[in-house]
């Protein structure tokens, strides 16, 4: 298009400067995974080394939090996917009394600050005498992951014309066959994308976890401890890089799965 074919210089500068603002600090995180100074973040680094990757590998205290974080994220994501899909299906199917209120309820856990979600869950656990455990962490994480899955699923439902479900019934399929052969294949990629985003969200959550974790440490909590009370600061950066590198793939995947759709992959993390 003629009048809009090229971006104005101001816009280009704004966009590039914005992206640099987002990425330069991350480069710093990378840089400090290689510094030879282990206790402080001295700038510029006195020297560079790759030893921290080996050190990190052999640090036994990393593995249990990592394992716990993976477990919590996996379980929360699974739960969120089930609940998010169900509610998206219900909301997409029909208009009913209280629909608006339910829409509000779904986004509340992500719209309210995590410290509130965390605190209220914590006081509820206290009131009901529920001891802290992996289960309580999952309870917190799944609650705010539901909306991520919901957002993705509902956008896909919106895009999928309702007529395909009718076409399926029309051709003789019962509800379960329609679910199996039409709904799931079409929803699949949106769910997968939502699931991956939910997983990443849970994996990085500190605040809610702080309130619901009791004695256990997830990886972010471990990081918080490491950062506040540094022993080998570069090890923390190594872990951050590894997490960064491993989320790169699912994010890219989520992008390609929802491309062209109206889902904003990751919108409303």
């Amino acid at each position: 298009m003629h009048s809009e074919a090229r971006a104005s210089t101001g816009l280009k500068i704004g966009a590039v400067a914005g992206l640099l603002f987002l990425h330069l600090p991350i480069l710093l995180i990378f840089l400090y995974a290689f510094t030879t100074e282990e206790r402080t973040y001295q700038f510029p680094p006195p020297g560079l080394t790759t030893e921290w990757f080996a050190v990190a590998w052999h640090r036994e205290d990393i593995w249990p939090p990592l394992y716990l974080s993976l477990k919590v994220a996996a379980v929360s994501t699974a739960l969120a996917m089930i609940l998010g899909t169900l509610i998206a299906a219900a909301m997409a199917r029909s208009r009913f009394f209280g629909r608006e209120q339910i829409a509000l309820l779904i986004i509340l856990p992500i719209a309210l600050p995590g410290v509130i979600t965390g605190m209220s869950l914590r006081s509820a656990f206290a009131v009901m005498d529920i001891p802290f455990s992996t289960f309580t962490i999952v309870l917190g994480h799944a609650t705010f992951c539901i909306v991520i899955v919901y957002n993705n699923a509902v956008a896909r439902f919106r895009r999928l014309s309702g007529a395909v479900f009718e076409a399926s019934a029309d051709l003789g399929a019962n509800g379960f066959q329609t679910l199996r052969y039409v709904l799931l294949p079409n929803l699949g990629s949106a769910l997968l994308a939502g699931g991956m985003l939910a997983f990443a969200l849970s994996f990085d959550e500190v605040i809610v976890t702080t309130f619901t974790a009791g004695q256990q440490s997830t990886l972010p909590i471990w990081m918080l401890n490491e950062l506040v009370r540094p022993r080998q600061r570069p090890v923390t950066n190594v872990v951050a890089i590894v997490v960064f590198a491993t989320t790169f793939v699912p994010i890219l995947l989520a992008y390609y799965l929802t491309r062209g759709g109206s889902e904003t992959a990751g919108g409303g993390k």
Binding site: A163, V164, A167, A169, L171, A173
Partner: protein
Amino acid sequence: MTAAVSFHRVSRHFGSVRAVDQVNLTIEEGSFFAMLGPSGSGKTTCLRLISGFESPTSGEIRIFGQDVSHVPPNRRSVNTVFQDYALFPHMNVRDNVAYGPMVAGVGKAQRHAKAEEMLALVKLDGFGDRKPGQLSGGQRQRVALARALVNEPRVLLLDEPLGALDLKLREAMQDELKALQQRLGITFVFVTHDQGEALSMADHLAVFNEGKIAQIGTPAEIYDKPRTRFVADFVGSSNVLPPEVSERLGGGKRWSSLRPEALRLVAPEGAQLSGTVTGLRYLGAGTRVAVDVAGTEIAALAPSGADIPAAGAAVGLAFDAGALHLMEEA
């Protein structure tokens, strides 16, 4: 002949909207039945009542004589070609067509063979591996048709299946559909709001207006003998004359209709009707001449080659006695 579908005082209300209102209807087996009417007149709702996606608020629907009130869509031997085709976007053309047999439990080899047969029927052999997204509008339409026909329905419902196609393609598909129906001998129920389409394709047609059937009959009956002003106006572009004019022209004191093509332009002196030309509309095959006859605008169709009067000219209009059709409304 048996009735393929019959409605007995069927109504479907949505809140205060009477989408379908006390409709009685019989569709004969093997016929090509069209439902015609303006937007919102209840055509789609009628179709959905037959396929089972809506349930009547009151009244009874029978398919081949059996009451289907408690039969869900998937168990009615009726199939639908949806307006936007509703092809499954994640399946290729073959799997789309083989969907019916698949959910019925037919084995892979067999259902694929069946699908290929259907694709051949709609002249899409060799397109089996494409995804719906890779087809043109007309091709999609034919896939939807093949998919609906694969289950060998006794009644095929089509909801404005040609609405999204452009004119040339539309005319070609009209011919194809008609030929197919004649070949298969099954009942087609066809919804459209395009009167040309309804007239040229249907054996019988029902004209809907505000949830009710305004008239039902063969295309010629509807076109030539509209019962009400609404029908006369909606089907084709008739001149609708008020009772006084009808009476003056030798009909009774009722509303009458007079088709433009039945009117000839003649000299004003001694003509049955006379007035001044107010507008011209070139149609290629002829020119539509609008004439103001004592305040009533009457259109006449001048065939191509005929002398076309200029706007403002005084003209007379002549017609055969039989052309004036008296309607029921007084």
